[in-house]
Symmetry: C2
């Protein structure tokens, strides 16, 4: 099972590919697609779309995992984040990739056991669970790996529940 | 000059291609890309992206014109609309199409002389300015033709200003 986690952001969209045999997870690649505020917004969206499409075509993950953000601080930031998420979801649909969505609280809870954990606590758990020798490139990459791990835990729990029934 | 106007919406995204020789405008094609709420949201975004990409490849417009919506009623509706706008802008960028953005008030004002005109008033002016024998297919298609006309007026005014200077 190969999961592409994505952390949406207009200036930096994190990504992380996590492979799992059902017991152990390992990170194949992680990083962030960056753009400068000077770039036209449509170009930034196109760069994010192109970067994710390349990753999907190169690695053929089984699923994309992203945070579902229904409550942003305000309408303006929600609108901007929505643009990025739209492009990310469409990039998945264009390649026939199913998308799993988790609330930020569910991701933090899955990783640390605490729904209000901060990004550094999540980073430490990402390093530990993936047995990484060093920190991921950025906190956005760490968050992307985290949502991928959350998905693996979620389907692992579902499989365990099926096995027990 | 051929302008593709787009009216973004998650259930119905209107489009309208308007050709102009600088004095007279005419509608080449207009309509709406529809999806049902039962479709997964990523699939709806993919359908909008695919529909617009087909239009762009078939007609090779010089520019896309869309409304710039920075203030939605609430964060949730802003987020949803943002997803659609993101896909629309990326579809343009992917084909190297420049995007012109106008506020809803600017579009209404350009069409009717009144920034708070309703959709029916805009529809009447779209019919009149494009010399249409019947109403556009939907109000979303009318709004898409309206933003295309707004762009043509805007660049016409800019050209006139350059000629006068």
């Amino acid at each position: 099972m190969l999961v592409l986690g994505v952390d949406c952001g207009s200036e930096s969209t994190g990504f992380g590919l996590v492979a799992s045999d059902g017991r152990r997870h390992r990170a194949l690649v992680s990083g962030a697609i960056r753009s400068t505020p000077a770039m036209p917004f449509a170009e930034r969206l196109h760069r994010i779309h192109g970067g994710l499409t390349e990753l999907i075509l190169a690695h053929r993950p089984d699923c994309m995992a992203v945070e579902d953000i229904f409550f942003a601080r305000n309408a303006r930031s929600a609108l901007k984040l929505g643009h990025v998420r739209g492009v990310v979801l469409q990039a998945a649909a264009a390649q026939g990739l199913p998308v799993a969505e988790y609330s930020p609280r569910a991701v933090k809870s899955a990783l640390t056991g605490y729904g209000h954990a901060d990004k550094i606590q999540v980073l430490h758990m990402v390093r530990s669970l993936l047995d990484l020798a060093s920190d991921p490139e950025t906190l956005d990459a760490s968050d992307a790996l985290a949502v991928a791990i959350c998905h693996l835990h979620s389907i692992g729990a579902a499989a365990a529940a099926r096995g027990a029934s």
